[in-house]
């Protein structure tokens, strides 16, 4: 049981590290933009992607929301704070990334790749890991959420 818990916490933290660094990297490189990613968008979201690209103000907003979304989700996962919300938000964001560029037949991305994917890629796997973390009451045992639960219990006692 302890091993299971420990491995789950480790999983939460490494995903948190990954997502947080993605956000920080974008923050310290202001020249970064989702433009290239959106430009390559395929399948059902390619129309939305084109619409975002065609509107510079909207693209800037999407960039800022993406950067800060990643940072907040990453912090939540590393620290174990609002873990459930952070995991669910992370799941939703990663699923979006997946759907904007799914590794379906005929939708291969040009350029060098670090792996070969068919239907399933690492983004989808990471998204599902976050969904698993969200539905497992893990955070009550490791993370700042413990203070939240403790406080709620004390508050309930005094009621």
């Amino acid at each position: 049981m302890k091993w299971q818990q420990g491995i789950l916490v480790a999983l939460r933290m490494v995903i948190g590290w990954h997502i947080l660094y993605e956000g920080i990297h974008k923050l310290i490189h202001p020249e970064w933009s989702a433009l290239a990613f959106l430009d390559n968008a395929q399948w059902i979201f390619s129309g939305i992607a084109d619409w975002i690209i065609s509107n510079p103000a909207l693209l800037n907003t999407v960039d800022a929301m993406n950067t800060w979304g990643l940072i907040l989700i990453g912090l939540g996962l590393v620290l174990g704070l609002f873990t459930r919300y952070a995991s669910l938000a992370g799941f939703a964001l990663l699923l979006l990334y997946y759907l904007f560029n799914p590794p379906f037949i005929g939708m291969e991305v040009a350029g060098p790749v670090e792996g070969n994917y068919l239907m399933i890629n690492k983004t989808l796997i990471e998204a599902l890991c976050l969904l698993y973390i969200a539905v497992t009451p893990l955070s009550r045992h490791f993370g700042l959420d413990m203070f939240r639960y403790k406080y709620q219990k004390i508050a309930q006692k005094h009621d």
């Binding site: 590290w17 065609s54 620290l79 174990g80 993370g143 004390i154």
Partner: protein, 523 residues
């Protein structure tokens, strides 16, 4: 978290609760280490430092807005180019305007600003074109047409009527090339400023006559070459000033296209039917002017650039832009000798234009050779490149500088591996929105003009139609004095160079420039 609230948690649980904090700290340290590593190993930053690139882009001058009194323009020749010039001035026919607004591509023209001009005269020998010109002139996109209504637009049957009208201040000449010089001479003599599309000349004698007339007047003359208006041109000028290319011995200019339209075969519409126009709606005698008399021909009317009778073929069309670009950059002037060769191997149906053409311009006094290589049967792009012993620079709508492996100037950077002879050490790209406009147009000929820097440029974060900027320069000089970039001196050099190349091709001989007599000789 206050001490009181935390007090309910055991020490062991406290450690569990704060387990993420050291991880966060570790991430923070790694981010700092990575940032510092990236800074030290950022080749781009190091090249910027080593080459002093920080202020290179300051070479791009902002587009300034100069107020001034209204200038009333007359346009002679309202074909495709006439329409483009009117658009660059801020005038579009209502249907074109609505269509452009509909597909969202109008922004650039609207933003280009009001040049404070009115098109008050249209002269075209073809009724259809003249009517299009009148409708265009009456619809000023900056003012919704109200401006134009105060200045009625008049159609002139003959350009002499237009240039002698006191209600016209300046004229734009966008007729076929064989009329350019005579119209320029007549307009200047009638006291009008002139913007004349390239090429100013068709035959050698016209250069000397037009030069004398323009030079001896106070009026402003500008030839229709837009390239010096681009941001890439201004940066290229600065790079040459900094002598990064070293000794320059070869300038290579090229044309590559691969379509009947790109070869000026333009008398048929997209369904293969002849375009409108016949002997009744076109004043054929006036269109021919001094050219040999031939019966009306729809082929000659639309595809005139293919005929020796009306044009200096590829030299007057695309080489003139190439020459102007490199002459504006290097001030190379007139070569000592020129030799052209080529032939019609693919488009043999009509006209004289070769689809394979190679010309060498020798400048022994400058230890320099200019070459022009045109291929109308392959669209594989070749650049406009200036080769120096230290680096080669390709300039067009974009710019790139590739160091030479044997460069002494860059030997240190090459040895340290910071730059590589196989790839550009400096690249300037066209603004992304301009590129997407070009994609939307999607015509191979439009793409050609964009790669040569002849359509739009990005200055101060805005996309500018370069023809608009070129017209603006002419208008600014009319109002406030000064000499425009494509002035009569530059037009003279260009006219001589084109005539030398054209004579060499047509008469199958070498040509030589006699600087004392200022005339071309056949050798």
């Amino acid at each position: 978290m206050t001490k009181e609230k935390a007090s309910g948690i055991a020490r062991r649980d406290m450690l569990k609760a704060l387990a993420g904090v050291p991880i966060l700290g570790a991430l923070g340290i790694q981010v700092l280490r990575k940032t510092s590593y990236d800074d030290k190993h950022n080749i781009q930053k190091e090249i910027v430092r080593e080459l002093g690139l920080e202020d290179l882009m300051n070479a791009i001058k902002p587009v300034n807005h100069q107020e001034g009194e209204l200038i009333r323009l007359g346009i002679a020749g309202f074909g495709v180019r006439g329409g483009q010039l009117a658009k660059a001035l801020g005038f579009m026919e209502k249907t074109d305007f609505d269509y452009t607004v509909g597909n969202g591509s109008l922004d650039a023209q609207i933003r280009d600003g009001n040049l404070h001009v009115a098109i008050t005269g249209i002269c075209d020998v073809f009724d259809l074109h003249a009517e299009k010109g009148l409708a265009t002139a009456a619809h000023d996109i900056h003012t919704g047409g109200t401006f134009a209504s105060k200045h009625p637009v008049k159609r002139y049957r003959h350009y002499h009527e237009m240039i002698s009208d006191p209600d016209i201040d300046a004229v734009i000449i966008s007729t076929p090339d064989h009329h350019h010089a005579q119209m320029t001479i007549d307009a200047i003599q009638a006291g009008k400023h002139v913007y004349c599309e390239k090429s100013l000349i068709h035959r050698e004698e016209e250069i000397y006559a037009a030069y004398e007339v323009v030079k001896n007047s106070e009026l402003v003359f500008q030839q229709g070459h837009q390239y010096p208006q681009t941001a890439a041109f201004q940066v290229a000028q600065e790079i040459l000033k900094r002598k990064w290319l070293g000794k320059i011995s070869h300038v290579e200019t090229t044309t590559n296209r691969n379509s009947p339209n790109g070869a000026w075969i333009r008398h048929l519409d997209e369904n293969g039917n002849p375009k409108p126009g016949d002997a009744r709606s076109i004043d054929w005698k006036q269109w021919l002017g001094k050219a040999p008399e031939v019966p009306f021909s729809i082929r000659r009317y639309y595809s005139w650039a293919r005929y020796f009778d009306y044009d200096t073929i590829l030299f007057g069309q695309l080489f003139s832009h190439e020459y102007d670009a490199v002459n504006q950059l290097l001030n190379m002037g007139i070569p000592e000798t020129v030799f052209s060769s080529g032939g019609q191997y693919t488009y043999k149906e009509f006209g004289d234009m070769p689809d394979m053409l190679h010309t060498t311009f020798e400048y022994p006094h400058k230890e320099l050779t200019l070459t022009y290589s045109a291929n109308l049967t392959s669209s594989k792009t070749r650049g406009r490149t200036i080769y120096g012993q230290d680096a080669a620079m390709t300039v067009g709508g974009t710019l790139s500088v590739v160091p030479d492996g044997s460069s002494e100037l860059f030997s240190d950077l090459l040895e340290r591996g910071l730059i590589d002879p196989g790839s550009p050490m400096l690249e300037m790209l066209q603004g992304s929105s301009s590129a997407s406009v070009v994609d939307a147009v999607s015509s191979a000929t439009a793409q050609y003009y964009a790669t040569r820097g002849l359509t739009s440029t990005s200055i101060g974060g805005q996309d500018w139609d370069v023809t608009h900027l070129h017209l603006k320069e002419w208008l600014d000089c009319i109002r406030h004095g000064g000499t425009p970039s494509a002035n009569i001196e530059k037009a003279f050099d260009e006219g001589v160079v084109i005539a030398m190349a054209d004579i060499s091709y047509r008469e199958k001989c070498r040509t030589r420039w006699d600087p004392d007599k200022r005339r071309i000789q056949r050798i």
